[in-house]
Symmetry: C2
Subunit: 460 residues, 2 copies
Amino acid sequence: MSEQTKFVLTEKDLPEKWYNINPDMPVNPAETAWNAVLHPVTKQPVTPEFLTALFPARFVGEAVSMDRWIEIPEEVREIYKLWRPTPLLRARRLEKMLDTPAHIYYKYEGVSPVGSHKPNTAVAQAFYAKEEGTLGFTTETGAGQWGSALSMAANFFGLECHVYMVKVSYGLKPYRRIIMENYGATVTASPSMNTEFGRKLLAEDPDNPGSLGIAISEAVEAAVSSNGKYKYSLGSVLGPVLTHQSVIGQEALKQMEMAGEYPDVVIGCVGGGSNFAGIAFPFLHLNFTEGKKTRIMAVEPTACPTLTKGQYTFDYGDTAGMAPIVKMHTLGHTFMPPDIHAGGLRYHGMAPHICSLYDNGDIEAVALDQLDTFEGALQFMKAEGILPAPESSHAVRAAINEALQAKEEGREKVILFNLSGHGLFDLASYAAYNQGGLRRYRYPDDKIAEAMQHLPQVNL
Amino acid sequence: MSEQTKFVLTEKDLPEKWYNINPDMPVNPAETAWNAVLHPVTKQPVTPEFLTALFPARFVGEAVSMDRWIEIPEEVREIYKLWRPTPLLRARRLEKMLDTPAHIYYKYEGVSPVGSHKPNTAVAQAFYAKEEGTLGFTTETGAGQWGSALSMAANFFGLECHVYMVKVSYGLKPYRRIIMENYGATVTASPSMNTEFGRKLLAEDPDNPGSLGIAISEAVEAAVSSNGKYKYSLGSVLGPVLTHQSVIGQEALKQMEMAGEYPDVVIGCVGGGSNFAGIAFPFLHLNFTEGKKTRIMAVEPTACPTLTKGQYTFDYGDTAGMAPIVKMHTLGHTFMPPDIHAGGLRYHGMAPHICSLYDNGDIEAVALDQLDTFEGALQFMKAEGILPAPESSHAVRAAINEALQAKEEGREKVILFNLSGHGLFDLASYAAYNQGGLRRYRYPDDKIAEAMQHLPQVNL
């Protein structure tokens, strides 16, 4: 009974550097670095001027950096310390419930003040923006987790924060808006009348439910048209974001060492890819450099199966075609995913690094239906107490499936997954699930095929 | 910049014993132990049979125990480990914001899966009920924090949980209900048609908003009329509950030692008194036994000022007069507090131990208005990131007031307060505050005076 359950680190164990995967990418870095990023109009490689108009210069610099380790500024670490290092737990009660020989570990990022991993990059980006004299940020948010994180981070550095929130989430998750406003942010339902693109969409369809892609377009437009007063901030997809999230996996490495085990499989859910990269890349690093053979598994919704059903090609990062074009797995930038409850996973594309690694066979991907992920989440909650966010529930269910497979095969297996956030903002979604109001979504083949007609024409 | 902010303990530091204040009470223990508890009808000291019909026998035994240290069962510690020990932080950013020479520390209980300190006793009570073969619990909940905690704990031990939720909170906090239901509990708005008392109240006034006192009456009636199938569970007020919460203060003692400081003042909000006792009693113990002179401060709402305006006398624990009569500070069991947003502090009485200590001058009490506590909570959130529960915000504001006083007096002061829960379930309340929809509540003198007419007549 007195076996160790929780593995905690102190402030002193907080990583001093982020892990940047660029130099370890097994493919031509040109496929994932900025020089493979194309201007949405000219379709030629973007200029540094274009990028620094959008993002803080230090952030742009990190994207092209070939330094494996990037020092975490002391100002950022001081804020990380409010909730980091986060705990890693062995899910002993879940193991018993499943009657599995597998050992299941989870890294819990829900202890941050906003309940998810998102502040890991928000704080860094806010520090850079402050350092460079910017007034504040424009950004988008799906489920609200990113918007809350950036609102908090902007507040810490005295910056403004203007959030475009996907309309369907704005309606489903009114409380997320209040928390952003409490940090001093302004929150607008997207599509909105604030931007040219939003006005165009609303003229076509006043009931447009919005999507991450649309909200990105609006936030980008608002930043670009601000004459440099505001920078745009993205909470996923981009290389520096994945780099900032590496604190998760670095801590988990230390904690697994405390547990005296090493994972056979590392699992994270993927929308844009940031929490997945955060836990996975430090383990992938050891696959590359120390010959470890850990399976690295990305879990996405069947309703938005970017890796498992998308095409690996060049596409716009947003819906409007205003954001840069990158090479990634995509369902087509005009693809509109059904409004599943894991709002943070409704993105037509995916972090280029992750796509490249998937294409190269370094990582696996699996798609799960939301009904199965809610079921897994409630099973986890009954065993371990914590209610997972619908996004994180994809990782939970995949871990349960791996554990059940281990039972079937009668072998021990060490499973580590990232519980990227809690579901306390998602209780309306759980209510809908409990009342039988959710349905299964297969990937809509015909809609994806239709969206594929609208890929940008790129000649490189 | 690299000064320590967060003080973390490992599983090994989890207390092995609870601290029971009974042997250290500076007054006749008869005033607080069960032999000062009177039967609501006979008004004579209650029998062990009466109490064990309501509560698990081991729980009743703890109430009369004169053992200073009570071993925490291994089954309870195993579950504590899912989130305990909880962190203690120095609020360096808040100190800077207030420009105070005071050092402000907070113990953060919001990291539990249900976001408050309540599971500390819920898990113990559920283990006792399971051990004694009970089917499950009936209980009441105000803000929903206690109901969530007991639902989780009951689920861990395979017990049923039937929660009577104060109707005004049931309406304001629908999401709390969903989380209880997700753990497998049934939740009923109180007053309800399930009980005789509920039916009586609804016949008199179908719009009765409910109160903790009414909900207690219903839960007690449901347990008593179950012929022993269900036990009643109370999340505050009773001695064993205060004892179970002592893990908070014991951990905080170790963590303050890590910080190299000792608090001049320890602060907690009080409704029934459990989180306050949890952080305060272990420090009070050292006031009693080691000559420490730490000020111990209980903070209550001006709308329900039990300690500061109540009478120290015998009164029913519930509104209906079905629960035992105890000696405590009371506003009268028929007193109906206004429906302030700190639902967990709307109780006419107070833990007898706390009343006795207050009456004896061992602790202080102060009443704060909810407008001031919301203001303090948002200030704290902007500095430290975490949004406090409206209940906990009373402690936050009192700590801020103490820090500002230290600034005025130009002296260092070490302040420790209990941040008993986060406010992520209370965003509707924050929305109401932000929109200017909350008003000041002074204690309603005339209503208290009226309620005082209905105290039970006791001859001892």
